[in-house]
């Protein structure tokens, strides 16, 4: 079996299974956790608290006006590469063909040239993000292996993908195989590292927001 | 449906017609390439050639190219295994060669930039063989009484 066949065959099958298992495990485990009982008298009704939670989900996704100057650049970087990633993942024809055969639905693609531009931009932003992480003192102290590895695996998928489309670094099959294989690795790593934020980010903001608003905090 | 031409096709994009008179960018590039090779030949360089097959040309482009080069004064016909023609174009030293097989099918076409098309000159050993042949013939004739 050659590399491509292995990568999109057994390796993908296992990776997909591990991914689902891990994601469901962590979501179910998280959802069933007991929330610490609050003995204080609630400041807000449950309905109001939930509305507060929804507001918090939105407002936490935007720089707080007081800190815009300090955190704005970082958030812009973050938004930039996330949007780039979504476009490259969802609007590139071969990726759509991939999803199509997995889920049976397809959608229109963007021209390859546009995708190439976005992936190069995304790659550049990812480099900038890494640079910021290692140069920013606080951020550096907060970072652990998980942060760097999650960055590495995401970037690896992009780099191998770019190499495959640009036909550099070796025969196309090999690079394509590496690209799919690195994606398989990403799937496996996903639920167990910080990439899991994709599933956690909004629920945790909502839950925190609701709990805080129940206590009477402004959202 | 037995012939290629009978299969219905729909033309998606028409290449610009030759009749527009303006020379296409592709043809201009070939003309410039020929000019460069002529210069090189004049400066004592190697003769060159441009394979017509390697150039994706529409019939219109071809017409334009032929017209731009113009008709010349030399025509050579090769009669080995099918008739092949080499025509000098209006630009001296630029030869338009079309090689055909026994069935008259075009098997190679190119523009040659040379004093004389490379296929024409005879190699020394060939000359010697010719001389031998003639001598043998002459000797044979001499031996035959009454001739």
């Amino acid at each position: 079996m050659d590399l491509v066949s292995f990568a999109r065959g057994p390796a993908l099958e296992v990776a997909l299974a591990v991914f689902c298992l891990g994601v469901v495990w962590r979501i179910v485990g998280f959802a069933l956790l007991r929330i610490r009982r609050n003995f204080n008298e609630p400041r807000n009704s449950l309905v109001k608290a939930i509305i507060g939670g929804v507001i918090a989900t939105g407002s936490r996704s935007w720089p707080h006006s007081e800190f815009t100057v300090r955190t704005g650049a970082g958030e812009a970087l973050g938004y930039g590469y996330h949007i780039g990633l979504f476009i490259v993942i969802l609007a590139f024809a071969p990726h759509i063909a991939f999803f199509g055969s997995l889920f049976g639905v397809t959608w229109p693609a963007l021209p390859n040239s546009v995708i190439t531009i976005f992936s190069v931009l995304t790659f550049t932003l990812l480099l900038a993000v890494l640079f910021r992480r290692v140069t920013h003192r606080v951020l550096r102290m907060l970072s652990n292996f998980d942060d760097y590895f999650s960055w590495f695996i995401t970037t690896l998928v992009i780099v191998t993908g770019l190499m495959a489309t640009a036909h550099i670094g070796g025969p196309y099959q090999t690079i394509l195989g590496l690209h799919i294989l690195s994606f398989d690795a990403l799937l496996v790593w996903f639920p167990f590292g910080k990439l899991m934020h994709a599933f956690y980010i909004f629920p945790s903001r909502a839950i925190n927001g609701t709990l805080l608003s129940r206590k009477g905090a402004a959202s | 449906m037995s012939r290629l031409g009978e299969i219905p096709i729909r033309i998606v994009s028409r290449t610009p017609a030759a009749s527009t008179g303006t020379i296409g960018a592709g043809v201009t590039a070939i003309l410039i390439e020929i000019a460069t090779q002529l210069d090189r030949l004049a400066d004592g360089g190697e003769p060159g050639a441009i394979d017509l097959r390697s150039l994706p040309m529409s019939p219109g482009d071809r017409e334009q190219l032929l017209k731009a080069l113009g008709p010349g004064e030399v025509t050579i016909t090769l009669k080995g295994d099918g008739e092949s023609t080499i025509n000098e174009t209006g630009i001296q030293g630029v030869w338009w060669s079309e090689y055909r097989d026994r069935g008259g099918e075009l098997i190679a076409g190119f523009i040659e930039i040379a004093q004389v098309p490379a296929i024409l000159p005879v190699e020394p050993d060939q000359l010697r063989r010719g001389a031998q042949q003639l001598r043998a013939g002459a000797a044979g004739a001499a031996q035959q009484p009454g001739n």
Binding site: D2, V4, S5, R8, P10, L12, E13, L16, A17, V18, F19, C20, L21, V24, W25, V28, G29, F30, L32, L33, R34, A93, P94, H95, A97, F98, G100, S101, L102, G104, A109, L110, P111, N112, S113, H167, P171, Y172, L176 | V12, P47, G48, A49, D51, R53, S54, L78, G80, D81, S84, Y99, D101, E105, I107, A108, F110, E112, A118, I119, E123
Partner: protein, 372 residues
Amino acid sequence: MAHYHDQPTIGEMLERHGVSRRTFIKYCTAMASALALPPLAGRAMAEQLRAALRPSVIYLSFQECTGCLESLIRSFSPSIENLIFDVISLDYDDTLMAAAGAQAEMARDKAMKDNYGKYVLVIDGSVPTGANGAYCALGGKSAVDILREAAKGAAAIVCVGTCSSFGGVPFADPNPTQAWPVSDIVSDKPIVNVSGCPPIPEVITGTLLQFISTGKVPDLDEYRRPKVFFGNTIHDRCYRRPFYDQGKFAKSFDDEGARNGWCLFELGCKGPTTYNACATTKWNGGTSFPIESGHPCLGCSEPNFWDKGSFYSALSAPRWGKAGEVSPGDVLKVVGGAAAVGAALGVASAGLSRLRQRHIEKSTTNNEAKES
């Protein structure tokens, strides 16, 4: 080049058959053009060939369908007549030769003896090794034995077709005859693989001619294919490439995209991973090639092309399971199964942490009670 055996050079041979130097140059030029070599390379090749000795070629067919030979005899430039009679001395080919039976075998043995160490061995078809090689036998000898014997005295081996190069269809899972490519059986001779199912005729003759004219094995890629012909993918040279780049794809064989000649990637085109000369040399004397006729590339010049799932599923599509095809149902099975296990694990881990939480709470309340 030295004359041994008082053998005539190819040039002299040609002359004797009334093929003039110019005619030969004509064919070699056509050949070079068909192979997208520079036009002057044809003349150089013609001169080299004329000075060379006519090599003995032994063509052995094993577990094959004769498609490769069918392809070879449709070589346009040079045509097979030119090749056989002028440039090579085809001393054995059981399909093309007039002799049959013991006579044919004798001719082969004689050619092998007379030209020991100098002949070019052309192999077509895979070599079955199961049941002691009984699946393919000629004149009472098994293909494996014949190959081993013939390989001993060969100057080089040219494998024509994907079967002899990579095992081909007989090699496909579960390989009932235990067929192997030549390179798995012979290891001490230079081997050139001219893969394809079948290979392009001009590529077969081109490889032979190049070998004869230079006397050297050409530059080979990782699969021992001559780089001149297998240096680019179909995708690299495909005239539908602009559509690929624009993201315009035919989704079925009769939709608008197919009629407009859009890229066939989604219909399963293997062009991006297939190294061959189809897009440039084309077929039937340069008439067209599969993609030009509206069919995706099958990837027939690549190893295991028959075991890579459907010809019609996109290259980037995942594949696993028996048929090598993934349906949303299969995905659901894998995903569903994994999700069920994940859910169970989730319930268990939440339960565990609840227990721990309760335990901690109990001990803290106890402590608080004690303290007060």
